[in-house]
């Protein structure tokens, strides 16, 4: 049985939600053109493979220089944020972000932007391929080998760090019936022994598998005995009966906030295992599922929110402020809080709200109107001001409730103008404030 497919209206509003959930929100006009493809066509276009063409001006730091993502502090964040803004393959970029959270590796432990970007490239290359390939690549990835002590795991001194997270966070989940035991953790650690690297003055280099550091003995993992090595350890996890359900549940949760029902779950698991651990078919099925379009909304992750602002405004990366703004909003790329990834239940509190508020203010800053120079040039009419403001922020859907409140705001603020200079300048201030409010609305924080 295949998973259910959404059959309701697929208009601009639905396309907008799809672009936020599967990417970084629409550029102006993008929702309408995606809607014109219909649901199947829209999802197919998101899944389409091929080279990513980045559109628009190249990223710059605040001084107008190009980025040095391998070296300069914060430029790693700017570099990736730029890809999110300019990509023509938003789903690939979004999946890369999902894998960054799934296999959460922090440069706080790795201390090498170069290695972090190397991992990022791997995640992007395999983003919609086979989870088996992805898991093997992550297991032997230099940043991961440093982050979870894989390169310190030797036959004489086994280190369980990666072996445990491989099962707990990456493939099987903790404390589930029929799960793994502490003996499995120790045996997996033995299987994974043998990775090493060299220290050069430039940092760690020459990551490689050295058989002389590997424990060649037999290991018993999940009751299966063999002379397992780093190639077998991930495979044994994928073949564990708990893996498919873990994979489907976790992947689903990145796109839909409510749990899938039992038939959906088993249909997706089947799609996954029968397809040989291919990721794209499962993602495609989730993106067409009725729950995505008819169910409740989700809080936009902070960098998704930020990248979306820049896409909607057609603005490129031209300041380093995005690093601290996103950090304040709760998500600095390459620095997840721990190996379990970001805690999305903490993405909206008063501190992160202010981060988002300032992200919006910063995004709008360049196009905000100076009241001195524009005095008398805008209509003293709240409806006209609001329509102009909506058009200037990429024409997002604005629901009736929000529209009413924004018009109330405009009308009341215009009524405050009790002097001639105020009559001239308040429309400009109101226009600027309306743009800010449109980007900070509850419906703009969610999708």
């Amino acid at each position: 049985m295949s998973p259910p497919v959404y059959s309701g209206t697929f208009g601009a509003r639905e396309a907008e939600r799809l672009l936020w959930r599967a990417g970084f929100g629409p550029r102006p006009g993008e929702a309408a053109s995606l809607a014109a493809l219909g649901l199947n066509g829209a999802v197919a276009s998101l899944l389409a493979t091929g080279k990513d063409k980045l559109k628009g001006p190249k990223p710059k730091d605040g001084r107008g220089h190009g980025l040095s993502p391998n070296d300069a502090w914060g430029h790693d964040h700017l570099w990736w944020l730029d890809r999110m803004v300019r990509t023509s393959k938003p789903l690939v970029e979004r999946m890369t972000l999902i894998w960054h959270d799934w296999f959460a590796t922090s440069n706080n432990g790795v201390n090498s932007q170069k290695l972090m970007l190397g991992q990022n490239e791997t995640l992007r290359r395999l983003a919609l391929g086979s989870f088996r390939d992805l898991l093997l690549a992550v297991t032997s990835d230099p940043a991961m080998l440093l982050w979870l002590s894989g390169a310190e795991n030797t036959k004489d001194a086994p280190n369980e760090n990666y072996g445990r997270e491989l099962m707990e966070l990456f493939t099987l989940g903790a404390d589930r019936p029929g799960g793994y035991s502490e003996t499995d953790v120790r045996e997996q650690a033995r299987s994974l022994t043998g990775w090493t690297y060299q220290w050069k003055h430039s940092g760690p280099t020459k990551f490689r598998y050295d058989p002389s550091r590997h424990d060649p003995g037999t290991k018993t993992v999940f009751g299966r005995t063999g002379t397992w090595d780093w190639f077998d350890a991930p495979r044994l996890c994928l073949e564990h009966p708990n893996h498919a359900s873990f994979f489907v549940q976790k992947l689903w949760s990145y796109f839909v906030p409510t749990d899938p029902d039992a038939p959906t779950r088993s249909a997706l698991e089947q799609l996954y295992t029968s397809g040989g651990y291919q990721i794209a078919p499962v993602v495609g099925a989730i993106l067409k599922h009725p729950d995505l379009y008819t169910g409740p909304s989700m809080v936009k992750p902070p960098v998704v929110y930020t990248a979306g602002l820049l896409r909607a405004l057609n603005r490129s990366i031209d300041t380093s402020d995005w690093v601290w703004l996103d950090e304040q909003a709760g998500q600095q790329l390459f620095y997840p809080p721990n190996v379990a990834g970001w805690d999305d239940s903490r993405w909206l509190d008063t501190a992160s709200f202010r981060g988002r508020w300032y992200a919006a203010a910063t995004a709008l800053g360049k196009t905000s109107l100076d009241p001195g120079r524009n005095a008398g040039k805008l209509p003293a009419d709240e409806t006209q001001l609001l329509d102009r403001a909506i058009a200037s922020v990429g024409s997002p859907t604005v629901e009736d409730g929000a529209r009413t409140l924004l018009l109330d705001f405009g009308r009341n603020a215009l009524a405050d103008a009790d002097a001639d200079w105020k009559l001239q300048t308040y429309p400009v201030l109101i226009y600027n404030a309306m743009r800010q409010l449109l980007l900070a609305l509850p419906e703009a924080q969610t999708c």
Partner: protein, 454 residues
């Protein structure tokens, strides 16, 4: 890691940070290293609505947070207390640069690279052998107005040269590694209220060990003391309306959808926080301040005192890194300049608000530095160091004296102390707080009290 810091310093900072996070599992502290006072006190977040402050509360001892609004109101309604502000120069500030004996031959021979020229800084009026570091010129101005008492060599005998241990001694007010309450914390335990955490306020975000109490609650400012939501080219009436609309949008557009409703709730909270913190954001201090966190902290503090909030003991760190093992001239000049210019603005602010007679400031460091410079334009850990007490009510006269280096260096090449920090603490307790020091400072009877307050 800052190359200027010694390893011991960096490690002790890490240890302290970890220790301050109670319940997170204490790091293994090496034998002989004292635990910072207050280690293990639990922290509870609280928004004090009446004062508009986001606080971390310590030492509630079963007190319900709801009782605190009432406690603060009661304390604020009582007579205005004297306020004491403790400012820490972290890392061991170099006294022989802060106040330098320009023509002492040993100064010039032991500090061939670092010695400052006599013309560099103004002469110290009370002892013409000494000059102020150029960065301390603002303090020399306050001194000329009789508002600064200088301690040219404050410390204790057999000074411990570990940052961690010596700082602990200063924090607890005794050379006792086991003591787990701060000297100001013990004062509050005796003289403070059971329900007014503002009486001991740490401005650095986490509990200052100096303020660690055993019985009464104290607080740390949790969030920045302001919650601005500025937008370019939106101001005046329109800004006010915009901020109200944030709240309206939050209230009216939340709805049933959980994520939307969360977004709405957060908007309402953000608006509320903004309103509550507005009075104390230091937005319009009556005098200009230089920029920086320290200036923000002190201008907010002046606003809190000016608004009549019931503060007694306040603690924070000065800007700058004073552990100058290398590259000392630039680092020290930077730190001292920022600190002194801000302190001068703070003093003017207190005076403009009419509360200057209620406040004194004590500036201290865990030790001074070695007299002889090292090979990398820096100095290593020493013994006696620099201190200042500032305010309109201070006596404005040197505490202890300056000894020519011929007579003023101990066997280890460090400055000999001519004033004991515990004697200073006793004097502050007795002369400023009118509190018998024997209940607060161990062995109080054995220390000479300098005249601190006029």
């Amino acid at each position: 890691m800052d190359a200027r810091c010694c390893n011991d310093f960096s490690r002790s900072k890490l240890l302290r940070r970890a220790a301050a996070e109670a319940g997170r599992g204490l790091p293994s502290i090496e034998p002989g290293m004292p635990l910072p006072a207050g280690t293990g006190l639990t922290r509870q977040r609280f928004l004090l609505g009446s004062a508009g402050l986001a606080l971390g509360l310590y030492g509630l001892n079963g007190l319900r947070p709801e009782a605190i609004e009432a406690g603060v109101a009661r304390a604020a309604a009582g007579p205005a207390n004297p306020v004491f502000v403790s400012i820490f120069l972290e890392g061991g500030a170099d006294r022989l640069s802060a106040l330098y004996p320009a023509s002492d031959p040993l100064y010039r021979s032991l500090r061939p690279k670092l010695a400052l020229d006599g013309a560099a800084g103004p002469v110290f009026a009370e002892d013409s052998r000494l000059h102020w570091h150029p960065g301390l010129v603002p303090l020399s101005r306050l001194h000329a107005q009789g508002k600064v008492s200088v301690l040219p060599a404050v410390g204790y005998t057999d000074a411990d040269q570990s940052h961690f241990t010596s700082r602990h001694y200063w924090e607890v007010g005794a050379t006792d590694a086991q003591l787990s309450t701060g000297w100001l914390g013990r004062y509050l335990d005796v003289a403070g209220a059971p329900d007014n955490p503002l009486q001991g306020l740490s401005l650095d975000g986490e509990l200052s060990p100096t303020l660690a109490t055993a019985h009464v609650p104290v607080a740390a400012i949790d969030a920045p003391a302001s919650y601005s939501l500025d937008v370019q080219n939106v101001w005046g009436d329109v800004e006010t309306r915009m901020l109200e609309t944030i709240r309206e949008l939050g209230v009216r557009l939340g709805g049933d959808d959980p994520a939307r409703s969360l977004a709405g709730t957060v908007q309402v909270q953000a608006h509320r926080l903004h309103e509550q913190l507005e009075p104390f954001s230091g937005g319009n201090p009556p005098v200009p301040y230089p920029g920086g966190t320290f200036a923000d902290q002190l201008s907010s503090l002046a606003a809190l005192i000016g608004a009549g909030l019931p503060l007694r003991c306040v603690s924070l760190s000065a800007p700058g890194g004073y552990d100058t093992h290398s590259g000392q001239p630039a680092a020290l000049a930077d730190g001292l300049t920022q600190t002194a210019t801000t302190l001068e603005a703070f003093q003017a602010d207190l005076e403009a608000r009419g509360v200057a007679d209620r406040v004194i400031v004590h500036v201290w460091s865990e030790f001074g530095r070695r007299v002889e410079e090292n090979g990398s334009s820096g100095t290593d850990h020493g013994a006696a160091g620099i201190g200042f007490v500032i305010g309109t009510r201070v006596k404005g006269q040197m505490i202890g004296q300056h000894l020519d280096l011929q007579n003023g260096i101990d066997d280890e090449g460090n400055l000999v102390a001519t004033a004991d920090f515990r004697g200073l603490y006793c004097a502050i307790l007795e002369q400023w707080f009118d509190q018998d020091a024997s209940a607060i400072i161990p062995g109080a009877g054995g220390f000479t009290r300098p005249q601190v307050i006029a």
